[in-house]
């Protein structure tokens, strides 16, 4: 996948305009899905467009030795969202208390989200509603890990956090999700 992206970038830089168009088509759904969860539906199209224009302007600066294209484009997306929310005077990706983050590290995966909770989460509207209720840092880790299939290491690069912190965010996010499912029952 990453090799495909690098090939398309190389082709584009060699003068094949259509290669960049293919990159836009490939990543628009992912960038849209990620962005809408933080900025809502009204401005999401503008944000996605802004992201691709930044990518187009900076494509020559992309260095595949530093990170993959997917990590790079999501970093640009995250920064664009942060800038947009800063203009709206909102703080989204604030740092979490590390003590709070390490809470739940000893709990087994099966206990974090039992089968009953998973069954409830099959309702996609409920899942999206509960994701909206999560802290932005937890939400982004879950989206990037489960929807974008990024590794913890890639997520760490993207959000500029050490690997263990990302793993803790992930675990804590699942625990919060379980709490929200329980709350929703009552």
């Amino acid at each position: 996948m990453e090799n495909d992206d690098e090939y398309l970038i190389k082709e584009y830089l060699d003068g094949n305009q259509n290669s960049f168009k293919l990159l836009v088509e490939k990543y628009t759904p992912s960038i849209y899905n990620f962005s809408i969860r933080f900025v809502g539906g009204d401005y999401v199209n503008d944000i996605v467009q802004d992201v691709f224009i930044k990518v187009w302007k900076n494509i020559k600066k992309f260095d595949n030795k530093k990170s993959g294209f997917k990590t790079w484009i999501f970093t640009i997306t995250r920064n664009t969202i942060t800038d947009y929310l800063r203009k709206k005077k909102m703080v989204l990706f604030s740092s979490l208390d590390e003590d709070e983050v390490s809470f739940g590290d000893n709990i087994k995966d099966e206990i974090i989200l039992p089968d009953e909770a998973l069954i409830k989460l099959q309702d996609k509207e409920l899942l999206n509603k509960l994701l909206d209720d999560l802290h932005a840092n937890y939400r982004e880790v879950l989206i990037l890990y489960y929807q974008e299939e990024m590794t913890f290491s890639e997520i760490g690069k993207l959000i500029d956090k050490p690997l263990n912190t990302v793993k803790s965010y992930h675990r804590r996010a699942l625990i919060k999700l379980r709490e929200l499912v329980k709350k929703d029952e009552f």
Binding site: K21, V48, L127
Partner: protein, 132 residues
């Protein structure tokens, strides 16, 4: 659990309107066309300015050569080669001394700008022709 969660999350993605990627591409093409247009005019302007600058610089360079006596030293080389063979060191130094270095540097710089801007402008025009 991980695979189940992956399925659940994949099922809950938000999808953009079908035309979004097309709109984005159109916006990029529009910006590209704007930038290319400005670049084309910029290079064309630089070509014209450096062309006039070079012409003016050549004119003043010729005057400088006469003023500093460069032609006199040069003609000496053809009229009295014996003197030059004897005093070749002094002759070379005088010849170099009579060169209008600053004017030459300005002319080379303008010719360099002219060359680069013509090359870039022709590349931009060629691209435009290929696209249209």
């Amino acid at each position: 659990m991980e695979q189940n969660l992956q399925k659940l999350f994949k099922n809950a993605t938000y999808s953009p309107e079908g035309r979004l990627s097309g709109d984005i591409w159109n916006a990029i093409e529009y910006k590209n066309a704007q930038i290319t247009k400005w670049k084309r005019f910029g290079y064309l302007g630089a070509s014209v300015l450096s062309l006039f600058g070079s012409a003016f610089s050549i004119k003043s360079l010729i005057a400088e050569f006469s003023r500093l006596g460069f032609y006199d030293y040069l003609s000496l080389a053809f009229s009295d080669s014996g003197v030059i063979a004897t005093y070749w060191k002094e002759y070379t130094l005088s010849l170099v001394d009579s060169l209008p270095i600053a004017s030459l540097a300005v002319l080379f710089f303008l010719l360099f700008v002219l060359f680069i801007s013509i090359r870039r402008a022709s590349y931009q025009f060629k691209n435009r022709l290929l696209i249209s």
